[in-house]
Symmetry: D2
Subunit: 374 residues, 4 copies
Amino acid sequence: MLRYLTAGESHGECLVATVEGMPAGLKVDVESIDRDMELRQQGYGRGARMKIEKDRVHFLSGLRSGVTIGSPIAIQIENKDNTIDRLPPVFEPRPGHADLSGALKYGHRDIRSVLERASARETAARVAVGSLAKCLLKEFGISVHAYVVMIGGIWAKMRAVSAQELARAIGHSLVRCPDRAVEKKIISAIDKAKAQGNTLGGAFEIRVTGAPVGLGSFVQWDRKLDGRLARALMSVQTVKAVEMGLGIRSSQSLGSESHDEIFWTKSRGFYRKTESAGGIEGGMSNGEDIVMRAYLKPIATLKRPLRSVDVRTKKPVKATYQRSDVCTVPAASVIGEAVVAFEMADALCEKIGGDSIHEMMRNYKGYLKQVHEF
Amino acid sequence: MLRYLTAGESHGECLVATVEGMPAGLKVDVESIDRDMELRQQGYGRGARMKIEKDRVHFLSGLRSGVTIGSPIAIQIENKDNTIDRLPPVFEPRPGHADLSGALKYGHRDIRSVLERASARETAARVAVGSLAKCLLKEFGISVHAYVVMIGGIWAKMRAVSAQELARAIGHSLVRCPDRAVEKKIISAIDKAKAQGNTLGGAFEIRVTGAPVGLGSFVQWDRKLDGRLARALMSVQTVKAVEMGLGIRSSQSLGSESHDEIFWTKSRGFYRKTESAGGIEGGMSNGEDIVMRAYLKPIATLKRPLRSVDVRTKKPVKATYQRSDVCTVPAASVIGEAVVAFEMADALCEKIGGDSIHEMMRNYKGYLKQVHEF
Amino acid sequence: MLRYLTAGESHGECLVATVEGMPAGLKVDVESIDRDMELRQQGYGRGARMKIEKDRVHFLSGLRSGVTIGSPIAIQIENKDNTIDRLPPVFEPRPGHADLSGALKYGHRDIRSVLERASARETAARVAVGSLAKCLLKEFGISVHAYVVMIGGIWAKMRAVSAQELARAIGHSLVRCPDRAVEKKIISAIDKAKAQGNTLGGAFEIRVTGAPVGLGSFVQWDRKLDGRLARALMSVQTVKAVEMGLGIRSSQSLGSESHDEIFWTKSRGFYRKTESAGGIEGGMSNGEDIVMRAYLKPIATLKRPLRSVDVRTKKPVKATYQRSDVCTVPAASVIGEAVVAFEMADALCEKIGGDSIHEMMRNYKGYLKQVHEF
Amino acid sequence: MLRYLTAGESHGECLVATVEGMPAGLKVDVESIDRDMELRQQGYGRGARMKIEKDRVHFLSGLRSGVTIGSPIAIQIENKDNTIDRLPPVFEPRPGHADLSGALKYGHRDIRSVLERASARETAARVAVGSLAKCLLKEFGISVHAYVVMIGGIWAKMRAVSAQELARAIGHSLVRCPDRAVEKKIISAIDKAKAQGNTLGGAFEIRVTGAPVGLGSFVQWDRKLDGRLARALMSVQTVKAVEMGLGIRSSQSLGSESHDEIFWTKSRGFYRKTESAGGIEGGMSNGEDIVMRAYLKPIATLKRPLRSVDVRTKKPVKATYQRSDVCTVPAASVIGEAVVAFEMADALCEKIGGDSIHEMMRNYKGYLKQVHEF
């Protein structure tokens, strides 16, 4: 079982993530993790702060000479702006944020005590965790790619490509959108929203390639892989909907059009020609690509402020303006990739057991053979 | 902390659910639970089997004279059709079901060992659990209502009504859709699909009324209420997408249109005039109605069978036809209501602590006063 | 991961245990489970009630033709005496029981609402769960035997024998004590206590044979096998102390006498000649027999009643007398065997993964080979 | 629910603990935590290394101006000796340590990858966590004190004193033993063992004062307070037995002598005159002091080395000597105090709910009143 906790405030000293249950013997690709850390900070439409800071992971424990030893892995990400004890109090809750509910729940008059932790800054720790999980998945030939499919109502056209081509196309795009034609329109839309002091939401898709059949389980409600993935994605700031495969389209279609028929050849074993289910049936991976989408509301911190109330005086105010991001969908897709990678790694560890990469691999090969010879 | 496990196969002796952590002193309304059990079995578009069986809950433990005593509550639901050891083996996995993945994962040549548990029959146990949770919520003035908003691409128009009116409108509809005009179109669509041997999916909405501000938390990824609700809903058979509030619409809108501005009056305290967020901000309830949607694929068991493969011979076959349901969206909405009710009850218990209704109520009133006087 | 919940009151309809995570393909030896159920009811020194009832397990789910299929296993044990709603209220809390604390915690004026669940009757469900776990362990050559080593201050002399001999010696003893000489003295002591209206405690030892090295882990406090075993044993009614290996003696000895030196031969691999550590070092099994002891207070329900207070009047009273057992240590050892077996099975599943006996065995053999070739 | 994870190796950069679920509004007494950190490093019989290093906690998150805000609390403890990547490999497993089992489990040829995490250095993080928990308990008038009752077979005589007097007596002793007469004998024994290159074990007692009735529960096996405490204590390095109250003595006594009779006066409510049960009945606190003991083996790293085997050559060797401690029982008692404090704080939070000290206190007072007026 893998598990993790994160800690840290937006303007505190640092973020810390502790990951428990990683097998021994995994060579950690720190560069690839730092690359993901950077990607989380980028994307067309980000404000000034993001361009200054450059997150780097620092492993406090769990490695010897860059290789895991089975002990918990603590990862630290420094905050350049450690001013939490000097920053002014906040009394004007922003609609769309944790501000008001958090203040009432925890009894905080000064809303800063909420927003410092509720801030999306915390997701840097989750990206580090997920990117570490990708190192594990890679050993087993499993990759996870997230990419933007819509911003501001402008939809990309996706076509079937290999995982590598997909990765390349994402990497080349300023908004992590593989459809070059649509990218330009999206950038115009962002520019327009920015000029108006407004913000834009969107949607990203995540594709997991190479996952074996049988991760997750149908036997108990809380072991279903789609449920676990949905929780992980919905827990990302601004995500307001999660879809597996062609879920929303299928809900409006006929049954005869909505299921992935089953085929078999000697070399491939069982396979499908379509991916309506998004690679998950009965709460388990079915051996095809796992495909899911997250839909994100536009960020709530607008140059054009929203109406709110001062928590001291109860008088109407305009919600505090703090950040200049117009669109964070590309960044959010990096976070989505991370949290999905963690869930996949957890499901894999649960399925095959083992305490070292060597042992996991032996178990894994045995299982693949079993499936192949079924 | 509330927790539950279910057990039982579709054609086994019975289903059993065990619920742990319920406070003492709750008068259990067994009739209301049985009503929910029945509702799960109904809805225009169900096949013959559903009409014969009539589920009833039987409490094996946890009550004295109909009142909880704090000990675990085991609920049994008898299966009329206890034939699991006599039923023939199944070798033709149905697309869209757990059949193939489950067989490969658990090494079952006879797929019956998968489908008996993966079957939606299991959700009867979850409805019992959720309906029990509704008894608890009711003590605190919290209600949960699920209703159909779309079937086969035909959308209902929803308008703001009281929880009571809503309940009445749902109760009067053959498809649990409060929009009477649309109900007729939906029934025609179901009839048409039936005539074609096809199936229909749809969407339901769930509205939680009366929940206090501050359930769930932003402090750790796995404590976010929306994440927990998404997991619960996504774990229901055929659900392929979950949306909080106006999530999908918001993702295509401007930031200035997508957030619920904050107001205050002496009598109401803080409140909103809109419900884009669906009552959840920062992973916590914000004191407004919690509104979410689930999107369901059409059921995969078609009269018009889909292509599959015999797991013994690896030859192409037509997937076994077993059930005559055309549309289970109304029934699924009952299940969705149940699993959401459980998560809300769990979040409530976690927030206010206590081991008896009396103690919970005292803590609850103290918290409401704290919020009111903030 | 294995997990289980039990439910049921002493005079309710039945007890129910639900076990989650059992692999598929395990032939369940129902007879051996029923034998353990009986053993829990026996032992010299038990009162009349135990002789009348004869517990039998009834599997409500999870099996097809007696073999597990991977789905949750619900086990029912009928209560012969289902009178909970007719039995009189209790207002006199018994010292040494959950009575008073439970009444205050849950706000029960009528203490029956506490004692019905707190009763050791519930352990019948745990014996069923643990006996099922023993079926799993047996597949991997792991056995668990508990036996009485002391009653009323009279200690048995234990000598090294094979697991089979040990089992035989336990089976032949009226008090589950392998030392025949001491058995007689113990029986006299029980007779004497009975004549005086008194009760006796004691100690039992548990020996796990055949467990592989490396179950549990040192990497996080809550993953240590000894901690998990201690929790399981301490959670058994009347257990007041738990000891691993020669723990108490070692605490009073020199370091040079207290550790199990390490040896190696080609055929055996690494091994020890002593068992001070009780087979657990650093929170992990070390490949030797796991040996632990539990110490039990005499049961608190005495014919010679203890002083208490009527919860209504607050007047002094003599605590209610309800049961005629003089000594339950032999029965408790059966329960201890069960809870230890469950923890061992859980630790094994966690170590080697897999969803079927077949897959587990393949992984297991791979691991044993790895250890052997280290 | 409180939870925590620790990370960090003995010669890595630092230790990190992350604590989740702490209420907001708790003033953290950093000085008292640092005092506990120091106490863990002291005690007559420690070697040279302990005298050089002086642990200090550094809060990375969760506080604003020294007060908790409800977010996770990450605590860092620097290692002065960060040499993990330069230290030589280890091939000679020490009996009594995790060395051999850990190497075989995780597949580590170089045993350093085991001992770096299995080392008792990790307990510094647990002391920090527990000491933080004591700050929380203090707000509710609950104190936790651990003290040595035996070293090397020399037993202290304990007499009833107030919590304050007890704390003072512990503080004045070089071996944390409140019995001054016995202290001298213990020190002589330590000196003698040192001269012989040997080590000594012992026992410590923990007394929790001020805990309310009703923490923990009897309703499910894993919710029993004594089970949770036993797990926490048994997970501390060198602890090999755990005893609640007079458990071991009671196991050899008559029932009439082994239970705490119940009394009542208007001012005190229900109370006991004896403490055989150690303040826990039926898996719940009973409102009296909670008293438990842990028994520790002598540490396994002896100047007089034990026999072992080189894992490469399989030739017999003498186990590596690394540390010069003779007796760590006083230090272990500090760790025991910490882990018990954490479990008590967790049980308290679970019982009374709430997200801030203010809310917890309101709920707590309501509960105390309910108990008083029962």
